[in-house]
Symmetry: C2
Subunit: 268 residues, 2 copies
Amino acid sequence: VPKTTHPDFEEQLAFAHRLADAAGASIMPYFRCPIEVQNKDKGAGFDPVTAADRAAEIAIAALIATERPGHGIVGEEFGNRNEQAQNRWVIDPIDGTRAFIMGSPLWGTLIGLLDRHCAALGIMDQPYTRERFWSGKDATYFRGATGETRQVRTRSCGRIEDATFTTTHPDLFVPGVEVEAFQRLKSSARMTRYGGDCYAYCLLASGFIDVIIETGLKSYDVVALIPIVERAGGVITTWEGHAATSGGRIVATGDPRLHDAVLKMLAA
Amino acid sequence: VPKTTHPDFEEQLAFAHRLADAAGASIMPYFRCPIEVQNKDKGAGFDPVTAADRAAEIAIAALIATERPGHGIVGEEFGNRNEQAQNRWVIDPIDGTRAFIMGSPLWGTLIGLLDRHCAALGIMDQPYTRERFWSGKDATYFRGATGETRQVRTRSCGRIEDATFTTTHPDLFVPGVEVEAFQRLKSSARMTRYGGDCYAYCLLASGFIDVIIETGLKSYDVVALIPIVERAGGVITTWEGHAATSGGRIVATGDPRLHDAVLKMLAA
């Protein structure tokens, strides 16, 4: 498990919790209320952007501009600000927009902090169920509706045949290499389920899912999740085994042995 | 919207709420705890049965035996009791066992009451998120973690092209007629998402999902959901348009016009 070397880690983590609080307060009035779904993608795709997304990002951006003026922001809706800063907040106000507009609680606010190219800390906040996962310096923590905080860990699972495998949606894989890799993993795994977005990575960090693969992720879909998965004992990289910070094709496993096996299977 | 003619509806509903309370209390100690997953199906399938399932059904069966000795029980784990009774409780302690063992909150306790062949009332309870949906005499209600009860309604959506479509898992459809029907619906719908089990029917009743199709459902997977969907303004039948109480291939829509269109598409 890589350890962060950030000098003021606790201070930044406390600020990240405040960002998550602000995002949740902005988003909750819109959850399970009739909302206008804008179609951001004018083509054939369906990429909803909700008023909740925008309200949360405005609240977060205002806090960062005021209290961390030297930091950068990488966010889906607002573009990038101060891109050359050493510290950049990587934000997805609602990861799992489709779950959100369906009324499902399997979405979350992702707040990550990059220190140069390293994911220094991450929070996944689910304000409806009042669940929050975050990376401490050397461990991953969970707090639920009861208010109790506890450490979470991935579980041991060294063989694909024993693994619970999830991905957000099977149709996201591009026909050819990606679909074939997905099919190989699906046919080997013990159980395959769809849906989850960021919520699934937190269940992996908690020892209930063994492997996740996805494609087409953006930086803001994954940076916050990297320290959450790694400091819980898991491994998260691209399908080629490189750093996950830029997104793309991502694989996460709870057990490092399983990561080796899955990388081989994806490359086969 | 069909109206129930049950003479002591409120009394039975109050008892159903007590059954849901008892089930939730039995199940929660097992949720997100390391649990042994028994493999009920000795063949190739994977059909987990948890200690939580059994604990809840024992608690429910004891209450029914004590307080409703003349009523019957239809339940997954315990077989059928008093099958000839006019009133039969149709119980699935954990609908969405796979979600449960993955730590996802998209499962629920289903408690339905059959009055002869009519689904008189239903409850879907999610004890982790503290959400409960139930059918009143002429309406469907929701109570969340805040403790506030409010009425829910399906939304208007007359065209498949505008519909949000869900099913629990695409691989459950049998190759041939079922897969072809699923593919037709999927390629026409605006958005398709997987997962949800009973939780999805309650989101349909709340106006966030427009159409659900499934196959291979048992009576205990669906009886409780029938009055929840119908009294919220929706329609739920078999793919052939018959009563859903026996399970099988089920289609539910929020808008009755959409039900007509989907039945035609499934039969095409």
